[in-house]
């Protein structure tokens, strides 16, 4: 193997164009998503959910359902043998509700039957008697966590002051493959659960606690995941399918319908924000005051971490002497909210970037110049007092973005109807169409923060197969579509100089890898694979046909501390990542129709590990940012979801998605393996405010809420005041 002298490097190392190993099965239809699994004698599970946002459960009668031919189990809260509640940080959510339901769609009863039709029929025959209770929404929620930040002199004043209020609607992850899994009872009395998830070990702990099984008896295996984006970090059907399998003695499969999926996972927190920015007349930011209110919905989920992010990143990537931030998340009877790509940072970016544009207008300074003049850089302090030690190329990203060419103004000379707002609906031929350009930049923490011991585990084995070395990489890190399996193999090839690398299916038979979230997996599990490979490499001389070499390693990132509960100060984050966006949009100001012509982005990724996948994260993240800007919102009325379908909850189609112009910067991150950085979330942070800035530029309307609807853009209905 790796000996001295000349050697040819194996192909497929980091930085190279490597195709995903699960790609061929994915294009031939052979790849097994969780919803494709089946077993001999498999039964189907179905969930009975609350139709009310808040009600007392007076009685549950399952007799009629249980009597139906083919029904194997009908379970209520009384049948949960272990802990009756679950939750990632707080165990506050009932596995099955008992005295009260706190949101529409909350699970109350679960049913297993020999086939799906029978299970659905039985579910319809479950009688739950509810007494409705008052629905708590925005204004009277119970405070779950308040994060204050008091940075610098709190008694400052400034020559120029701008203020505004902003709102972000509730976004859905809308992953295309609904929640699903298959629980198989095992001979040892335990369970093998094959499930589409983001974090096997946190699911394992919760399944074990509620089923009463030991961790050893609760084995989770990653099944094919049809996208995640934060929506699979919380438990959905995991405990339910396991309980039904244990009770019926049969493999039980559960697959949510699309409608059910809207009730079955947490959403992006909607936000209401009030901001005040003060600056000197020559454009130096003096202070930022912000009140950020997030609606956490009925249960805690990851709200404490989301509100912490909202506070920490409230002013954006700018240097500011004084900050007074109060970020609060409340419990209400709305659907529970939790992790979604860019969590916490997305909401505040919409506000801080609108404020920077307002300030630029008030000062008569170019909005990009104002941002550059106040750009955060290495050696500055964040508003939490934390020193920015890693790269912070805010000014450089903005300069590069501005230098990128603008698209030709086709709307001035329409050559093709499809290029106009409204497209083939033929509503305009160019009259009333105005073009706007908007810039925004955002940043976010990579990895888990505030004292969480964030680590990942990897086991690497080298053995000789027919005389040739083969590497097996075993982790519990979840491939959710982003391409982790590709990069883990690239890392192993790079470290061991062995071409034949197999990344095993993730499961809980190896130590935790932590969550596939917070843009952390390539850094954390990639780091663990690297360490395990280094340990294996030191022992490769032991390798023989009879003897493999195996090592397990854990990669921890540098410790962080919780934010001080009074001042919000503390070194709470490990690393930061930055991306800037420029949107060009045409607006039909009479009809309020929008065509986003182009989104350009410059993003610092630390180091490109896989060029196709890196670009794929950026493209896909921008699509979700565009969605939040102009189309996506879960519409609520008294706690009820009014648009739980793809007919009514619209996500960008290929016709909505503009060309994306990419400029990828590689500033090696000193703390990360290979100098890489998280890539997945930054694209969703500033893309939304950039699009809205372009719409403001085109329409002249203040646009204080996303998603922007057509009626917000028609000049006649312009009522939003600019301060």
């Amino acid at each position: 193997m790796a000996s001295s002298g000349t050697r040819t490097l194996v192909r497929g190392r980091i930085g190279e164009l490597v195709l995903r190993p699960d790609g061929v099965p994915k294009v031939t239809g052979a790849f097994q998503f969780a919803s494709d699994l089946s077993r001999e004698g498999m039964a189907w599970g179905v969930t009975v959910r609350s139709p009310h946002a808040h009600a007392r459960i007076a009685a549950i009668d399952v007799s009629e359902a249980a009597a139906l031919h083919g029904v194997l189990a009908v379970l209520t809260h009384a049948d949960v043998p272990g802990r009756k509640t679950y939750g990632m940080e707080h165990h506050d959510q009932p596995v099955l509700a008992w005295d009260e339901v706190r949101y529409e769609g909350e699970p109350v009863v679960i049913v297993a039957a020999v086939d799906l039709e029978t299970a659905r029929l039985a579910a319809a025959r479950v009688r739950v008697h509810y007494e409705e209770l008052p629905v708590v929404t925005w204004d009277d929620g119970i405070v779950l966590r308040h994060v204050p930040i008091r940075h610098g002199d709190q008694e400052v004043s400034a020559e120029v002051v701008v203020s505004g209020t902003y709102e972000v609607g509730m976004q859905d992850q809308a992953f295309l493959g609904p929640e699903s899994g298959l629980a198989i009872p095992a001979e040892d009395g335990g369970i093998d659960l094959h499930v589409a998830t983001q974090w096997l070990h946190v699911d394992q702990e919760q399944v074990a606690a509620s089923t009463g099984l030991t961790l050893e008896q609760t084995r989770l295996h990653l099944a094919g995941v049809g996208g995640a984006f934060g929506g699979r970090e919380d438990v959905s059907m995991q405990i339910h399918a396991s309980l039904l399998a244990l009770r019926s003695g049969r493999p039980v499969k559960m697959v949510y319908t699309r409608e059910e999926s809207f009730y079955g996972h947490v959403h992006r927190h909607p936000a209401r924000m009030r901001y005040e920015h003060g600056a000197t007349r020559d454009g130096r930011l003096v202070y930022v005051k912000a009140d950020v209110l997030l609606d956490g919905g009925a249960y805690a989920s990851s709200s404490p971490a989301v509100v912490s992010n909202a506070a920490t990143f409230a002013v954006g990537p700018y240097r500011v002497e004084s900050a007074t931030i109060d970020a609060t998340v409340t419990l209400t009877n709305n659907p529970p909210c939790g992790a979604m790509r860019g969590f916490g940072a997305v909401q505040v970016a919409f506000a801080h970037e609108a404020q920077m544009d307002r300030l630029a207008a008030a000062l008569g300074i170019d909005p990009v110049d104002l941002r550059i003049a106040n750009a955060l850089t290495t050696g500055d302090r964040m508003i939490t007092g934390q020193l920015v030690e890693g790269p912070a190329p805010v000014a450089e990203l903005l300069e590069r973005l501005r230098a990128m060419p603008l698209p030709p103004d086709t709307a001035m000379l329409p050559s093709d109807q499809r290029d106009l707002p409204g497209g083939l609906a033929n509503v305009t031929h160019g009259e009333g169409v105005r073009r706007g350009v908007g810039y925004a930049i955002g940043f976010k923490n990579i990895g888990f923060s505030e004292g969480f011991d964030d680590y990942a585990t990897a086991r690497v084995r080298v053995s000789l197969v027919d005389g040739a070395p083969r590497v097996e990489v075993h982790t519990a890190a979840c491939e959710v579509g982003q391409g982790l399996v590709t990069v883990l193999a690239q890392i192993a090839r790079t470290e061991l100089e062995i071409a034949d690398v197999v990344v095993l299916q993730a499961d809980t038979l190896v130590g935790s890898a932590g969550s596939t979230s917070a843009s952390r997996q390539t850094w954390m599990t990639g780091g663990a694979v690297r360490l395990a490979c280094e340990a294996v490499r030191a022992r490769l001389h032991e390798l023989s046909p009879e003897r493999h070499v195996e090592e397990t390693a854990e990669h921890h990132h540098r410790p962080t501390v919780p934010l001080d509960p009074v001042t919000g100060q503390g070194d709470s984050v490990v690393a930061l990542a930055f991306a800037a966006h420029r949107a060009v949009a045409d607006v039909d100001c009479e009809l309020g129709l929008v065509r986003v012509v182009e989104i350009a982005t410059s993003q610092d990724v630390g180091r490109i590990i896989n060029p196709i996948q890196c670009e794929g994260q950026i493209q896909g993240g921008i699509a979700q940012g565009l969605g939040l800007a102009v189309m996506e919102e879960i519409q609520l009325g008294a706690g009820r979801i009014r648009n739980a379908s793809f007919t009514d909850y619209l996500i960008p189609t290929v016709l909505d998605m503009p060309t994306v112009r990419l400029d990828i910067l590689e500033t090696p991150h000193p703390l990360a393996p290979y100098g890489l950085n998280g890539v997945g979330e930054p694209p969703t942070i500033a893309s939304t405010p950039a699009v809205v800035a372009a719409l403001r530029d085109a329409s002249g309307i203040a646009l204080a809420r996303v998603p922007v609807r057509p009626e917000d853009l028609t000049t006649s209905s312009s009522s939003v005041s600019s301060s």
Binding site: T28, Q32, F33, D36, L176, P178, G481, V654, M657, V660
Partner: protein
């Protein structure tokens, strides 16, 4: 009440006993056991379930299985011949058109129907042809490129 019928999927006749209201998607996935076509919405909105019916792309979730009798049904499993990938499949991979892959079977079916009907589409024509297929991961760029590149390759081969 169940009806006996025969469905021709990817060139093979499958006799099935099914209720009248069963969708083509559900019968192909559960009775015939081809799970390549996906259910993303069961509502004609996402395109993950697309199959070819005599060469035309249909949302199989909203198509009654009994109506498919006598037609040639092609699923994603029937797109490639033997071990060789269809050029669309290879280009989807090379252009980054696949992430989670849940949309991929439907996308490939729509794209192949397009190229059969219109072997040299413009980018706008590609986008219109794929507008019934949602993808939440990729932002569509790699998918559109893959279809255009495939069209170019097929034209070069034909020339």
């Amino acid at each position: 009440m169940k009806y006996s019928t025969t469905l021709n999927v990817n060139g093979i006749d499958y006799p099935v006993e099914i209720e009248a209201e069963r969708s083509l998607l559900s019968v192909v996935r559960t009775e015939i056991g081809l799970t390549g076509p996906k259910e993303g919405c069961d509502d004609s909105e996402c395109g993950a379930c697309m199959m070819l019916l005599d060469g035309k792309a249909v949302n199989s979730c909203s198509y009654l299985a009994l109506q498919a009798q006598g037609h040639k049904i092609t699923t994603i499993e029937g797109l490639s011949e033997g071990d060789d990938l269809h050029p669309l499949q290879a280009n989807f991979l090379e252009q980054g058109g696949v992430q989670c892959g849940f949309c991929t079977p439907g996308m490939l079916i729509s794209a192949s129907a397009l190229l059969q009907a219109n072997p040299s589409p413009t980018e706008d024509e590609v986008r219109i042809a794929l507008s019934g297929n949602l993808c939440r991961c990729t932002g569509y760029d790699g998918i559109v490129k893959a279809v255009l590149i495939t069209a170019g390759e097929l034209a070069a081969q034909g020339a």
